[in-house]
């Protein structure tokens, strides 16, 4: 064709050199000589063995041009190489690629931004080519280093962003090129990751993009991509390609970057990045991120609480994403780690507000995590947290105390996320028992927490809000009711006793605030609503009577507290027939409430902190009290078997108090006349055995040692019952024969001694093993009954 333009000297040169020379125009502005380029391409395709020499020669030429700053020719040379690279067959490329990369490196080494960008473009093109034979000796170290440096470019004006973009693209290309093949350079080595990751993050943090996440719908056209967006894309790709072993290699520089650039506070950027990571990472590895972040929290244990709070906050924001994928031990590991952070925090920084925020953040994280786990795991977690709560429960402001309440808070958080279906699933005995035990903690806030946990776990129909305050105006509540299922009834039959008992006992505690009492009311009311059935009604009625007599007989409660008890009795009384439609009982309840309203409004809700001083004690208003016999009658008339109600009440001082007060003595006689099961005056005092000082006289002193208690607990219940019956017998005998003053005289001096002993036992019991049999628990919780009620006996 058109030969001869190269003059005579070209005739002496090898053919490939002549072909290469021909693609360059005289004037660089004219660009690549297309037709000659086609010839060169054709030549290299037909004799691929020459390709490496062509590459080498092109490189030499370009190097010379760079040195002479004839950039136009350099660009042409690069373009030619690009075309050859694309055109030629993969198998023949290997050697050519060496020259090609050398060329790119050469361009990158120049200070000219234009050449650097050009080189990057070519590199990206190269990275997209699949090579048949990987070249094991090829290293990308320089490229990673240089591209990372470009990402930090600080040129003036527009060039800055262009170079940065080129740098990011280059990194993306290196990653693409190397990540798919294990045999080539391992891009995941920290040498590389320590450069790539901070470079990407540095570009991402430059934008305010993450601040306004809502407006990211608009998609920028390809050529208008700015460094932050591209860096984000690249980051997603990188994380998405990371396998399990490599995740940490990515995360470590991320965390270091945040540390060094002080990006934890404020933490929007950190949250942004970690969300990106969580969403791009292969789902099965997502909990590794959580683990790593947690480990980082460990390392930062000496940093300021604000930093830790921020990290914990980030954790809480991403933990939900991981929860779905976490299985088995990793779940408990995460929980355990969170809890131990909580513990450390409690141990080290007492009562700083910042430290508190940190704890809040951790608890939030815990809650978030639990929220996204399947229900059965939530139970597991609750039990796990429970097992971490230190015992004994003591009321002093120690770290233990704080930790207990923090852990209870976490428990509440998890509990709130749990949706109860069957109560027996929710409350395995190993969970219920310690929970109830904690409901008797000396600290009133802690008791409140426990009640709240119970609320959230018991409530299934969204009645919690409605029942949060005692009220007698049931119609207004619009409770959601559902017939309780069989498993639930079985559950309450089995465990009702200890639940009611714990509730009753916790009502006796004289440090109860209004909130405590209200919370206990709510628990009882929720139980009532959730487990509405004939059986439960009787049980709860029994409890109500227990509470009523408690309010009448307690000596160490303030008047206000007694009024509180009366008020919740009234509220519960009207709740029961509303829930289980018992018309006569409802009428009776209304009647009592009406009477109270007119005569003694202080015996009705709402619960007040302070009552007017003229408010009369309930003892003085017997006609306003709930009459057991009357209630029994109404129950019977509605077809419920109320006989159990008349039997001995499990609530210690209860019946005895009623008898002692003398208000209902006639009822007992009536009841006896009617021939119900319980009529003997002897058995009337049955339960008082535990609360009467008479025992003291009958039993030798050493009976109250810990060992003897233990023995009592381990003995079969039958034997114990027999013994108890005997004791009761003796006791009633004593009471009938001895004079009042004698009794007072006998017991009074021992009063303190006894109480000391009892509290000692109480303490040692609560320190002992977590899992105790229900009978043990009964025994223990009945001890305060003693403490608080036996002096009452002698007032009348």
């Amino acid at each position: 064709m058109f030969t001869g333009c190269c003059g005579c000297c070209s005739a002496l040169r090898p053919r490939y050199k002549r072909l290469v020379d021909n693609i360059f125009p005289v004037n660089p502005q004219d660009g690549l000589v297309k037709s000659n380029m086609e010839k060169l391409t054709f030549y290299s395709l037909s004799s691929p063995e020459k390709l490496d020499r062509i590459g080498e020669y092109l490189f030499q030429k370009a190097a010379r041009d760079i040195y002479r700053k004839r950039y136009g020719f350099v660009i042409i040379a690069m373009e030619a190489m690009d075309q050859l690279l694309v055109a030629c067959h993969a198998q023949t490329l290997n050697l050519f690629v060496e020259s090609f990369l050398k060329m790119i490196q050469k361009l990158l080494e120049s200070t000219e931004p234009q050449l650097q960008i050009l080189a990057t473009q070519s590199f990206v093109r190269f990275a997209n080519i699949e090579e048949d034979t990987p070249s094991y000796h090829r290293r990308y170290d320089f490229f990673v280093s240089k591209f990372s440096a470009m990402c930090h470019s600080n040129e003036n004006g527009e060039a800055r962003d262009k170079i940065r973009l080129a740098g990011i693209r280059g990194l993306q290309a290196v990653v693409r090129k190397t990540v798919s093949d294990d045999l080539v350079e391992n891009i995941w080595e920290s040498v590389h990751m320590d450069k790539i990751v901070p470079s990407l993050l540095y570009n991402m943090q430059e934008s305010t993009f993450y601040m306004k996440e809502t407006s990211n719908i608009e998609i920028a056209p390809e050529d208008q991509v700015d460094p932050p967006i591209l860096a984000e894309t690249c980051m997603r790709e990188l994380v998405g390609r990371a396998s399990f072993g490599h995740i940490r290699a990515v995360l470590k520089p991320v965390l270091r970057h945040f540390d060094l650039h002080k990006l934890w506070v404020p933490n929007q950027f950190a949250i942004h990045i970690f969300r990106i990571i969580m969403f791009s990472i292969q789902a099965q590895y997502s909990y590794t991120v959580v683990e790593t972040l947690m480990a980082h929290l460990d390392e930062n244990s000496k940093s300021s609480p604000t930093i830790r709070t921020s990290i914990a906050d980030v954790l809480s924001k991403i933990i939900a994403i991981a929860a779905g994928e976490s299985v088995g031990p990793s779940v408990l590991e995460i929980i355990n780690s969170l809890l131990s952070h909580l513990r450390d925090s409690v141990r080290h920084g007492l009562s700083q507000t910042e430290e508190k925020q940190y704890q809040e953040a951790l608890i939030n994280a815990l809650g978030e995590f639990a929220n996204h786990l399947p229900d059965y795991q939530k139970i597991e977690i609750m039990m796990f947290i429970m097992s971490k709560i230190p015992f004994p429960l003591v009321d002093n402001n120690t770290a233990d105390n704080l930790l207990q309440s923090i852990l209870l808070k976490s428990l509440l958080k998890v509990g709130t996320k749990y949706q109860t279906i069957h109560l027996n699933n929710t409350f395995p005995i190993s969970f219920l028992e310690p929970l109830l035990r904690m409901s008797l903690a000396p600290d009133s806030d802690m008791r409140l927490l426990v009640q709240k946990i119970l609320h959230t776990l018991i409530d299934r129909h969204g009645n919690l809000e409605k029942l949060s305050k005692p009220t007698v105006n049931m119609g207004a509540l619009k409770l959601t009711l559902e017939k309780s299922s069989r498993p639930d009834l079985i559950f309450i039959n089995k465990h009702g006793v200890i639940i009611y008992d714990a509730l009753y006992t916790s009502l006796q505690i004289n440090t109860n605030t209004v909130e405590n009492v209200e919370a206990i009311y709510t628990t009882i009311a929720l139980l009532c609503v959730e487990l509405a059935s004939a059986e439960t009604v009787i049980d709860i009625m029994q409890l109500i009577f227990g509470i009523q007599s408690l309010s009448l007989n307690s000596t160490d409660m303030s008047n206000a507290q007694k009024f509180h008890l009366q008020a919740i009795v009234a509220a519960l009384l009207i709740l029961i027939p509303t829930v289980v439609t018992i018309k006569p009982l409802l009428d009776y309840a209304k009647e009592i409430i009406r009477a109270r309203k007119s005569e003694a409004p202080h015996l009705l809700p709402d619960l007040l902190e302070q009552y007017p001083s003229k408010a009369e004690m309930a003892n003085k208003l017997p006609h306003l009290l709930i009459d057991k016999i009357a209630v029994c009658e109404y129950l019977n008339s509605s077809g419920l078997d109320s006989s159990r109600l008349l039997q001995m009440s499990p609530y210690g001082a209860g019946k005895l108090g009623v008898t002692g007060a003398g208000t209902h003595r006639h009822s007992w006689v009536e009841a006896g006349a009617r021939g119900s099961i319980v009529e003997l005056p002897g058995t009337q005092e049955v339960d008082s055995v535990s609360s009467s000082p008479g025992v003291q006289r009958k039993l030798p002193e050493e009976e109250l040692t810990f060992e003897s208690m233990k023995r009592v607990l381990t003995e079969p219940p039958e034997a114990r019952k027999e013994a108890e019956a005997e004791k009761r017998e003796q006791l009633s005998h004593t009471f009938r024969t001895a004079t009042f003053s004698e009794l007072v005289h006998r017991t009074q001096p021992k009063h303190d001694l006894l109480q000391n002993k009892l509290s000692e036992i109480f303490k040692s019991l609560s320190t002992s093993e977590m899992h105790q049999s229900p009978s043990e628990r009964n025994k223990k919780s009945s001890i305060p009954v003693y403490e608080q009620n036996f002096p009452e006996l002698f007032l009348y």
Binding site: E109, T111, R138, H152, H257
Partner: protein, 203 residues
């Protein structure tokens, strides 16, 4: 026409504002940029020098002195053949930080790395660190010592030439491939010296 027999990587470290970038600029471009802003991340320059009639290419990585870029700058130590630790003779704190820098170097750089201590800004009147103190420190830590002024172009050329000579000698005296193999991971493909040997023969 550029071709080289040896390629060495030189990394500059030291506190912010001691004049690392100015040293590099002075050496590679022969200018002293007044009002040079703080380096971000890492900067890269190349310069080919001739030692004993052999071309030696120096890849110079100029790192940011600011603390916040420490993680990325550290990743560059690892591949360095020579580390230039710079302080400002008119600024005591920059000298006081040297032990910290040495610790970093110990931790992140190769143990064979050539280390040079440079006291920069000797053109300044308000010297705080006497030459002897610098010399003493360098001697104690087994480093070369040089005082320079990027502004007056004093000792800058000498500094880099010295490095080039030393590294070349090191490369020659030791079994070449072995030295190479030690640093292969680090030094990257272009430092494969035999490779470039081939190239130069070809031309």
């Amino acid at each position: 026409m550029e071709d080289f027999k040896f390629l060495f990587k030189v990394v500059l470290v030291g506190n912010a504002g001691v004049g690392k970038t100015c040293l590099v600029r002075r050496f590679t471009q022969g200018l002293f940029p007044p009002g040079q802003g703080a380096t971000i991340g890492v900067d890269f320059m190349i310069k080919t020098v001739e030692v004993e009639n052999e071309k030696v290419k120096l890849q110079i990585w100029d790192t940011a002195g600011q603390e916040r870029f420490r993680s990325i700058t550290q990743s560059y130590y690892r591949s360095a053949h020579a580390l230039i630790l710079v302080y400002d003779i008119s600024c005591q704190p920059t000298f006081d930080c040297l032990p910290d820098w040495l610790r970093e170097i110990e931790e992140y750089a190769s143990s064979k790395v050539l280390r040079i201590l440079v006291g920069n800004k000797i053109d300044r009147e308000d010297r705080e660190i006497p030459t002897v103190v610098g010399e003493d420190f360098a001697a104690r830590h087994n480093m070369y010592f040089l005082e320079t002024s990027a502004k007056e172009a004093e000792n800058v050329e000498k500094l880099f030439m010295k490095i080039a000579e030393d590294l070349m000698q090191q490369a020659r005296s030791k079994d070449l491939p072995r030295y190479d193999s030690i640093t292969t991971n680090i030094s990257g493909r272009t430092s494969s010296i035999s490779d470039s040997n081939c190239c130069s023969k070809l031309t």
